[in-house]
Amino acid sequence: MSDDLTHLKDAMRAATPAPSKKDADLALAMKNFDDMQNSRQGSANEARLTTDHPTITSRFTSGVIHMFHSLTTRGALAATTSITAVGIGIFLYTQQGNIRFELPKPDAVVAEVPVNEAPLKDTVEAIIEAAPDAEAPATAQIDTRRTREAAELGKEEGFAAGASAAPEAEADMVIAEIAPAVPPALTRKAAPAPMGGITSGALGYDDVVIQPEPNTEAFANADANPVKITTDTPVSTFSIDVDTASYSVMRSSLMNGYAPDPQSVRIEEMINYFPYDYPAPDANEAPFKPTVTVFATPWNAGTQLVHIGIQGTMPALEDRPALNLVFLIDTSGSMATPNKLPLLIQSFRLMLSELNDEDEVSIVTYAGSAGQVLKPTKVSNKAAIMAALMRLGAGGSTAGQQGLQQAYAVAEEMRADGEISRIILATDGDFNVGISDPDQLKDYISKKRDSGTYLSVLGFGRGNLDDATMQALAQNGNGQAAYIDTLSEAQKVLVDQLGGAMFPIANDVKIQVEFNPAQIAEYRLIGYETRTLAREDFNNDTVDAGEIGAGHSVTAIYEITPVGSDAILNDALRYQPAADTDGNGELGFLKLRYKTPGEDTSQLLTTPITTGMGEATDDIRFSAAIAGYGQLLTGGKYLQDWGYNELITLANNTKGEDAYGYRSEAIKLMRLAKSLSGE
């Protein structure tokens, strides 16, 4: 070796730590060995074929290396992943490391889900922990392998059974290996019936994709809000959020047979997915009305919930201003699967039937050659718009800068006084709209928003979903980010709630709550981790925040621990006496700031929060149930013994009339989540 290399070698030797987990690892390996032996008895399969291992490996290795390199560029687009999310990511994905291990064991046996439910259940339990949702829709290579592996499942059942009994601390590693064989099987059982020809992600997943695609999903997330001590941090500030993407992603995961990645869960989006019936504002009041309710926490007898419900006004839709819409559609090759471009086209067709004749629509695509596929056309000429939509086909790589800039240029053309311009960006996640620097992209969109054109983002399909960027773009564009996994969801977002999605009634809505330390010892905001604002941002009108659309309702829930309660988590300080404040019996004070669309200065609404305020209707308690559900999906640190059974009971009791069926669907999903979690 050359001197330099010797130096490197010595340095490496010095740096290598001594292995400290040897005993534990060896024990684990022996246990698995034993389990495998036990399951093998009786099914002697000496003639186990080995495929050309080296070839697959070498092809795979070089393929992975290549993928890894190309991933790096895309990586630049990820906007908001926090460092701790990285920690969680490492933890979760370490457990998934095994998934690729499973060597193909060709077997003529049909890929049938094993009948014996018990080991499957245990195995499935591990799916939650291993969270292979990013893995499941990944590649054709895995698909075909799994078909064969699922056959192996029958033999390996014993292995799984033994493995699942392994100590919880180490179970994940082992079980994760078998787990990937399970999702496709579960998918075939759990896949919902296709609706109107457009299928959910489940069928798209079953499709054999010719080109294996790396899974590059990235979610916007942050650490769960911790419990705050009122004397230390009496003020809580955040921006409202009406996006619903996280709920759809959760649904799509569950329908595909695996628990949603905790990183993809944003509790506020799940709560805000449902329409609520909060008291509507009067005609000459502010455009929205806050209603505060204080009631007992379902999951903790020692705490209470402060529920803030904000209801936007629903102006008569006949009087609404004309809409100028630009559909900016990603037609790159990756959009070809049934749950992407075809679903997108159907969704837009649905929406078209809701628009008025004076509205104008234009279509711009970006892929290969970006281009304006349809000039601004009045909706009275539906045929032309439909024809243009139907002509869309996926192909080519994602193009250019031209995409977004062209869309804004077209929106400029269409603009007229009193009309609302909005770009609807529909994509499966790879935001190759030409501006590759995410900050530059955000700035560009913010500038355009200030000049009057809004941007909403619709996400389709899994595997590529850059949820973090979607959120960031919609936030900057004063629009909504939604994830469309089924045609029903398209109907909800683009038809039922079209008013809210298209017509903002208040911009930059911020909430600030000050809690009274004489009454409240601790508090915790549920959700809104990615919407936190600094205390000074509240009064700063240049700080961007969320929008409320016509008819929208927004919910925020705090869990509060009154002074003197048994449930206080933080001990009192020893060396600093507790502050002796004299509150006037109020629990806290709520402040809201908003801007009327078009205005630059905000207006302020305030209301005190008092004990026992408001009436906890079924509606409100259902929203608390969803808050509990979101927490169950992300670990449920503060839920104590409250689990899925209690959740489902509460949800059932409070679902009320449920005209659209969203709540019943939610309860179905809760049941699925419960089964998948192995409770």
Binding site: S20, D25, T81, A134
Partner: protein, 181 residues
């Protein structure tokens, strides 16, 4: 008796269900495996996780061990695949540097000299491409010939030799920069 048995024989026996053989095989190779995992990932925690993954999966994988390959080649191939997998997942989620990017210097001895050596190591490793790092992980400990390393990584012997030359060139340049500084 067993003391003299080669890894290859042990592996074959283990694949056929011999528990003691498997136990011995793993015990013999664990430290080396861990070392490799460390060289691949650059961080102790990652190396531990990776090693554990591999140990857990080994019983199942043994079924595919073909007697003609050297056991260590086969084992290292398993390890490299596992590391690549982990990296891909990690990249998806975090888009952050891998182990060689977020090294914690204070994990190692506080001896100033060793510490300097470590700093330089991190610097050197981080400035190389992933392929070169993987190659180094295999070749830095003299157990692997270029041909064997090629087998593990799925490239030709010539490619490995070329990569090693690249590394030496790179190190030489680094050395020269340091001299200037």
């Amino acid at each position: 008796m067993r003391m003299e048995t080669t890894d290859e024989t042990l592996a074959q026996a283990a694949a056929n269900g011999d528990r003691e053989a498997f136990s011995l095989l793993l015990a013999r190779n664990y430290d080396r495996l861990f070392g490799l995992c460390f060289r691949l990932t650059g961080a102790r925690a990652d190396a531990e996780d990776l090693t554990q993954d591999i140990c857990a999966a080994l019983p199942a994988k043994l079924g595919s061990y073909k007697h003609q390959a050297r056991f260590s080649t086969w084992l290292y191939r398993v390890a490299v695949n596992a590391a690549h997998d982990r990296r891909r997942r990690f990249a998806t989620h975090a888009r952050a540097a891998d182990g060689w990017g977020d090294w914690e210097v204070n994990r190692v001895a506080t001896n100033k000299e060793t510490q300097d050596g470590v700093d330089w190591l991190t610097q050197a490793m981080s400035s190389l491409s992933q392929e070169l790092r993987d190659t180094l992980a295999l070749t830095l400990e003299d157990e692997m010939t270029h041909r064997e390393a090629g087998e593990v990584l799925g490239v030709s012997e010539g490619t490995i030799s070329w990569r090693m030359a690249e590394v030496k060139k790179h190190l030489r340049v680094m050395h020269q920069e340091e001299q200037k500084a």
